[in-house]
Symmetry: D2
Subunit: 466 residues, 4 copies
C-alpha cells in the first residue's frame, strides 16, 4: 500500500464517531474544530514531509518486516544511523511546525514493545512477539498514526497500583474472557490521541508480583467501544476561536493532550501483548521512556530552533540585534539548544542491537538527554522573553490593530525598526508568547519537564548511578 | 480627609468616561468588566488592608507633608525603616493577591520626582518642587491611586529619541502655551493605568542637550481630554469571560497592562515638573528605576510565596510531599525567593537621605535585586511546574468537571490523595498555571524581566561597575 | 585597659609554649614561622584597623558590659546597626587582607553563648550567664582574640555522638570534679586557633537526653595543659617557604586551620557555660551557626572584592579590558558578590533583640546567605580563571623570572599591554591563583562550602521551610 | 616497526640534552625528576594501554598511510567510528591516570594539518601535503609522541600579531634560507612538551594579508638547537618533592605545562607545512581547535569519572553515602559529566570526510562541547568539595600521620566509618584536593576553561550563529 498523503490522513479521521468532550460538551465534528485542527495539521506534517523529495531519506525507509517503503514513524530502527535519523527527522519537523507533532509516542512504543515481547516470549514461552509483528505490519502497510499510552491517573502517588483505594487509578484488566480481555482505567494527558488511528497501551511503572492485572499491554483502535475522551485545555486555547488568528501565535500548528478513559474496553487476544508478566513491566517502561527521552533531543530542539529564529527576527525589528549583549544571549540560546541535540545524537550513536534485532538507544545517555530537557528549554524561554521585550505581554489584541479608529494609532506606536516592522513584530511577539507561555509552552516547557519521566525504583529521579 | 475604603475606591472609578478599547471595541463600563475587574480588585486591596488593624502599621503612616495619616502608597519615605516597611507591605500584598497590585509605580515615582525636582530647582532656579509637593498633598489627602509612566514606544531601539523617524516614538512636548504644555506620544505597557486616578509621566532615558522636548515630567488625571487607552491582552485573559471561574486560576485578582496614548494632551503649568532639563532626565529615571527595583524585592516575593504555597499543597494532594527530592525542591524555591527578599531588604537598609529629605534606596543593591528578579522567578516557576505534575497543562476544563455525563469520570480520575483532593487539585493546578504561564505569569515572569529595567548609558545592562 | 596595637597582639603570642605539630615535627617558634606568620598578620589587621581613625567607627564600639571602648570583635551586638556594621567591618577586612582574618568565630560564639546561657539559666536555675559575662569582660578588657570551636571529629557520620564506637569522636566530659571538669575530644579544622588567646568550645549538634556528657560549653586558654595542635596543610602552603615570595600570591596574609585535640583538659567551673543541658545544645549551635552565616555575607564578599579587583587589573594588563564580553563577565562577578552582601545586610537589618538583650540576626535570611555562599564564590572563581587567562596555571616560577640567563626571556614573553605589565601580571596571576586554587581557596571556596554549615535535624540541609 | 612499550618510550627520552629550566635552575636529568616524572608516566600510559589486549581495539588501529598497526594517537581518523573511538580512548585514559595524559594535542594537530595542507596545495599549488605525509609516516612508524603548539605569548591582546610592539609576541619567520627557515617566538603553556619527541607548530589565529611571516606551520624535534624550555609551575607542585607521597593526591600521574621558546630555530623545508599562506591560518586553527574541543569530551570526562568515584568512596568512608541529598548530588555530578561525554560523542558521530580523506568532527557540536567543558567541571568540582567534607583543606600532612608521637592521635580523629577508613579517607581527600585545587585542577579546571579556546573573528566567543 502507498504512503498516505497529508490529505489522505486528514480524510481518514473523518469517518469515525468518537466519545469526545470539550468544555463540557460532546463534539461531533472534531476534524475541523478550530481548537483541534492545528494538532491534526501538525500530525499531517509527518505525512506531508514524507512526500517531499528533499526529505524522503529522512522521512521514509524500508520496513524490516515487509521490505516495503514506509514512513519512518512506523519503523523498527535497524542501526545507529536509523536512530540518528530519527532524531534529525524530529528536529526538522519541530522546525516546520514549531510545536509537538505527536507521532513519536507510537514510534517509541513500537520499538519498546517489539524488543520486550521478544524477551518475554523467550522467558515465558508466550507468543506476544508474533502478535505484535502482525499488528505492526498492519500499521506500516496502512501508514497509521498510533498513540502510545503510559501515564495512568495514579491517584495517591505514595501508593502502588495495587494499594490504591480506587483500583482504576491504574489501568488494569477487569475480566479475562475466551476471546480477549476487558480493561478499565484512564491514561492521563495523552499527546496526539484523537488524531491517531490506533492506541498502544503499556503499564505505567514497575509492578509487584501480585499486581498482575495491571501488567497489560495491548492495542485498540481509537474508536473502539468504551473509549471516552476529554480534551485537555491549554493556556490560550480559546484564542483559536477568535476571528483574527494572529493572536494564536502559531496559527496553523499545535499540540493536543487528551484524558483517555477506558470504560470497560474489550481487547481481542491477538492485540494483547502482555498479560500479567509483571517481571517485564519495568523493562518495557524503561525502554519506552528511553526512546522517548531520545525523541526530546530532536523535537524539542526543533521547536527551540523556531523560537530562536523568532527571537533573532524580533531583535532585528526592534533595532537591537547589533548590541553585543543581545548577540551573547542569542549564542547562549543556541548553545543550550545544541547541547540538547548533542544528547539526542549521542544516545543514538551509542545505541545497540536488541535480542529482537531492532536498535535501542543508550539508556544512560538518553536519561542525560531528558534531564537536560527539563532545564534548558526553560532557560531558552527565559532568554527569549528577555530579548523579545515587554510588548510580549502587553500588546493589544489583533482586533485592536484591525479597528479603524484605534488601529492606526496602535500600529504607529507598535512600529519598530523598518517600514514593515509593525506587523512583523506583532506576529513574532505572538509566536514567542505561544511557545513560552501559550499553547506551545505546554509542549515546549511543561511536557519537556514531565514527558518520558519514568525511572523504575528511583522515585522519578533520573539516576544514572543507581 | 479620611483614607478611602476599598468600596470608596471602586466607586471613585465609576464616574469617569474613558477612551478605552479592548478587543477592537470601545468599552463604556470598565469597572465591572470581567477581564478588568480583577485588576481593580487587586488595587482595592491596597485600600482594604489599610483598614485592617493587623496591617495598620504596615499600610499606613504619617505624612511628612501634612502630618496626617496616609496610605503608605502615597508616602515619601522618611527613614530606612520606611524603606523596609515598603518592601514588607509589598510582600504581604503579593501574598494576599497572588499578583501585581499595581499601586507601587506611583509610589516609586513620587519619591523619585520629589528628590529630583528639589535638586533641579537648586541648580536651575525653577519651582518644580513646590508644584510637586502641592500635587502630592492632593494625592495624599484624597488617597488617590497614581500610575507612574516611563516606558515609551521607542520605535527603532538603535536610535535616540531625537533621531527617530517618528518623533512621537518618545513622548514629547509639541507646544508650549501660556497656560501649559501640549504633549504627544505613547507610554507602552503601563501597569495599573485605568484603575488609577492620576498619571505621573517621566522621561524614558538619558537625553542629549538637543532633546529638550522629550525632557518632560507632569501629572494629568486619567480622564484628561486626549487620553486614549488600549487594553493589553494577556495569556489566558478570556478565561475570565467563561462561566466557571475555576479555570481562571487566580479568580479574584489580576494585573492590567495598558497602551496609553497621549493624543495632544494639555497639561497646566502647575502640573509640569520638568520642562526641558535634559541634564536631570538620567537622575530621575535612575531614581525611579532604583525604587522600582527595590519594589520587586517585595511584590514578586509575595507572589512567589503564593506560588510556593500552592505547590506545597499540590504535592500534599498528589501524595508526594514526603519524598526527599520533593522536599529539596521546595527548599530550593524558598531559597531563591528569600534571596530576592534579602535584596529588597538590603537596598532598603542601606538607603540614604536625599537632599530633599526623603530616603533613597542603595542604587547598586537595588540593581542587584533587579538582576536576580530577572532570573529567580523563572527558576521558581520551573520547579513549580516540576512539582505540580503534568496535569497542569492537560486537565480538562472546569465545564467538563461540571458536566453530568462526563464530570463523574473526570473527577474520579483527577482524584489524588485524600477525599477532598479532586477539587483542591483542580483549583491549585489552575492557580499554578495562572502564575507560571497564564495571566499571572505576565507579571510574575515577563514583567520581572522587563520592568524597572533601565540603566542610563549601559545598553540596558545592569552594570554595577559602570 | 587600652586596645591592643597590632604589635601588642603579636608580642602577646610570643610568651607561650604550645604543643604544636606541623609536617611531623614539633614547632617551638611558631610566631615567625613563614607558613604560620601570614595568619598571624591577618588576625593582626583586626587590631591594626581599630587604631586607624578612618575605621574607628567600624572597628570599635562601646561595651554593653563595661561602658569602655572595645574592639567590635569582642562586642555583644546592641542593635541592627551593630549587626550591619559587623558585616561591613568584615567586608573591609576581607578587602585589606584578601583572606580569612579569623577573629569572627569568637565574636559569633560570644553572642550565641551570651543569649543561650541567659535562657538556660531562666529554665534551669543555673548561673552560666554570669560566669560567661565575667569571662567576656576579661576578653574585652584585654582585647583578646578568641577562637570558637564547634566541629567535632565526628567519626561515622551516620551515628550520633553517643552511638560512636569511639566516644571521643565528639568532645565530651570524661570527669566531673569539685573544681571543674575534664574534657576529651578533638575539634577539627579550627580556623584561627594558635593565633588566638582563648578557646570557646560548644557542642557540635543536637543531642539526645542521654548524651549529657557531650552537652558542654567552656573556655580555656590556648596554652592550657593537655591541648595539642596539629597544623592543617593547605594547597600551596610550602610556597611560603620559598625564597621569592611572589609565588605565594597573597604574600603577607593567609588563614590557618588546626586540628585541635583536647587530651584530658581541665576546665575550672567558672569557665564552664553548659554542663549536660542537652535541651539547649540545638539553640546554641543554631545561634552560633546563624551568626557565622551572617559573617560570610561580609568576609567572603571582601575577599571577593580583592579577587574581582585583581581580575579587573589583569584584563587591563592583558589588553583585553575593553571587550564587551569581558565587561559582562566582570559585571556578573560583581553581581554575585553583591548578592552575597545583600544577604549579609538583610539578615542583619531584620535582626531582633534576644531575651538577654543582645541582637540576633534573622535566622532564615542568614541560612539564605549561607546557601548562596556555597555557590557564588565558586562561580566568581570560575569567571576569574576565565578572565585571568591560561598563564594562571602555566607561568614559570618566580625564580625563573629572577634567573640571569632565562629571566630576560621569561619576562619578554610574559609581557602584556603596557611597559610595566610583566611584573604586574606575574603578581596578579599568583594572587588570583592563590584565591581560586591555592591557600586562599581554602577559605574562599572550601570553607565557604563547609563553614557554618549546621542545621539541626536536617541532615545538613539548610531548610527554611523545615 | 613495532609499537613502543611504555619502557621503550621512557628510555627514548633519556638520550637527549634539553635547555630546560625549573625554579631558576637548568635541569640535566628530567626523566627522573619527581616533579616531571608523573607527566612522563601519564604519557607512558598511552603506550602501555596499547599493549593491553583488553584495550587493543581502542588504542591501536591500522594506518591509512602505511597499512601498518599504529597507536591511535598517531592516526588519521578514517570514519565517524574512529572519531568516537578517539573520545572513548581518551575517557578510558582519563580514568586510568586521573589527569591529562598529554598526547592528544599532537593527534589533533595531525588531523588538522593533514586536511588543511591538502586544501592549501589545491589552491596554491604547493606541496605541503606530501611533506606532511612523510613526516607523519615517520611519526607512526616510530610511534612518536608529538606536541602540537598553537598559543603564542600574544603580548597586548587588543593588537594583532603584526601590530605588536614586540614582533616576537607571536611566533614568526625571521629568515627564509635555501635550506629552510628560521623562526622566533614563544608558545605559551604547552601541555606535554618535554615528554614528547617532536613539536608540530601552528599559527595562533586569523591573520591579515600582511602578516605572512606569522603564517607558519612546521615540525622540529624537541631537542632541536635553539629550543629553550621553562617548566610552568602548578598548584602544589612541590609536594612531589616531599618524602611521603600521599599528600600528592595523584601519586603517579600528572600533567606538564611548558613555556616553549623558539630562539631562532632552524627548520628544513621538508618540515615546513605553511609558509605565508595567511588565507589558510583560520582554517587550520579552527580545525585544530575543533578536534581539541572534541578531545575534551573524552579526557575531561575520564578525569571526572575518577573524581566522581573518589567522591563516592569518601561518602562511604564518612558514613554519609545513604543520605538522599548525598545521592542526589552524586547523580548531579554524573549527569554533568555524561552531558560532556554526549557532546564528545555527538560531534564525532556527526563528523564528515574532508577533501583529504580523513574525518573532521562537526565543528558546531565541538564548540558546544567546549562551552560545556568551561562550565561543568567547575560545578562537578564544587559538588565534590561539598561531599568530601571540610577535612579536604584542613587535614594534617602525611608526615603528621607518620609521626610516632602525634600520629596515633591524628589517625584516631581522622577515622570515619569502618576500620580501614582512616588511611582511605586520607588518600581520597588528597586525591580530591589534587583534582579540585591542586596539580590536577590545572588540567581539570583551568585548562578546561582555556584550552582549545580559539574562534576566529569572534573575540574568543564560541559563537555558533556567527
Amino acid at each position: 500500500m502507498a504512503l498516505k498523503t497529508a490529505q489522505d490522513y486528514i480524510d481518514s479521521l473523518r469517518n469515525r464517531k468518537l466519545n469526545l468532550y470539550m468544555f463540557g460538551e460532546k463534539l461531533d465534528d472534531y476534524v475541523d474544530h478550530p481548537i483541534i485542527r492545528p494538532s491534526i495539521n501538525a500530525m499531517a506534517m509527518t505525512y506531508k514531509m514524507a512526500q517531499e523529495p528533499e526529505y524522503e531519506d529522512l522521512m521514509t525507509t524500508t520496513s524490516s518486516l515487509t521490505g516495503e517503503k514506509i514512513n519512518r514513524f512506523t519503523h523498527l530502527h535497524q542501526s545507529t544511523d536509523d536512530l540518528r535519523n530519527k532524531v534529525k527527522m524530529q528536529r526538522m519537523l519541530g522546525q516546520k511546525t514549531g510545536c509537538c507533532f505527536q507521532r513519536c509516542v507510537g514510534m517509541d512504543a513500537f520499538n519498546a514493545v517489539f524488543s520486550t515481547t521478544f524477551e518475554m516470549d523467550a522467558k515465558h514461552g508466550t507468543d506476544y512477539h508474533e502478535r505484535f509483528k502482525k499488528f505492526l505490519i498492519y500499521v506500516q502497510q496502512n501508514d497509521l498514526a498510533v498513540d502510545g499510552c503510559m501515564t495512568d491517573a495514579r491517584g495517591d502517588r505514595s501508593k502502588s497500583p495495587g494499594q490504591q483505594p480506587d483500583p482504576d487509578a491504574y489501568l488494569h484488566i477487569v475480566e479475562r474472557r475466551d476471546d480477549g480481555i476487558i480493561v478499565r482505567g484512564c491514561k492521563q494527558h495523552q499527546t496526539g490521541m484523537i488524531n491517531s488511528h490506533e492506541i498502544l497501551v503499556m503499564p505505567n511503572n514497575a509492578l509487584k508480583d501480585d499486581e498482575k492485572d495491571w501488567a497489560v499491554t495491548f492495542a485498540v483502535p481509537v474508536d473502539a467501544p468504551g473509549m471516552i475522551y476529554v480534551y485537555g485545555r491549554q493556556s490560550c486555547d480559546t484564542r483559536k476561536l477568535e476571528p483574527n488568528k494572529i493572536d494564536v501565535g502559531n496559527i496553523n500548528f499545535g499540540g493536543q493532550e487528551v484524558m483517555t478513559i477506558f470504560d470497560d474496553v474489550f481487547v481481542p487476544w491477538e492485540r494483547v501483548f502482555m498479560n500479567g508478566e509483571t517481571d517485564f513491566s519495568t523493562m518495557l517502561v524503561e525502554r519506552f521512556a528511553g526512546y522517548h527521552r531520545q525523541s526530546y533531543g530532536g523535537c524539542k530542539v526543533g521547536t527551540g530552533d523556531t523560537l530562536i529564529g523568532a527571537v533573532k527576527a524580533i531583535t532585528d525589528y526592534n533595532g537591537a540585534a547589533k548590541a553585543s549583549h543581545i548577540k551573547d544571549k542569542m549564542v547562549e540560546m543556541c548553545h543550550l539548544n545544541e547541547t540538547l541535540f548533542a544528547c539526542g545524537i549521542a544516545c543514538s550513536a551509542e545505541g545497540r542491537k536488541t535480542a529482537a534485532g531492532n536498535y535501542m538507544i543508550d539508556l544512560l545517555l538518553a536519561n542525560i538527554c531528558k534531564q537536560n530537557v527539563t532545564r534548558f528549554p526553560y532557560e531558552i524561554a527565559r532568554i527569549a522573553q528577555d530579548l523579545a521585550g515587554g510588548s510580549l505581554v502587553t500588546m493589544p489584541s489583533a482586533q485592536d490593530f484591525d479597528n479603524p479608529e484605534i488601529g492606526p494609532l496602535v500600529k504607529k506606536y507598535m512600529r519598530g525598526a523598518g517600514d514593515d516592522s509593525t506587523e512583523k513584530r506583532q506576529r513574532l511577539l505572538r509566536l514567542i508568547e505561544n511557545i513560552t507561555m501559550g499553547c506551545g509552552a505546554v509542549a515546549y516547557l511543561t511536557e519537556s519537564m514531565h514527558g518520558a519521566g519514568f525511572t523504575p525504583g528511583a522515585e522519578n529521579h533520573d539516576c544514572p548511578i543507581g
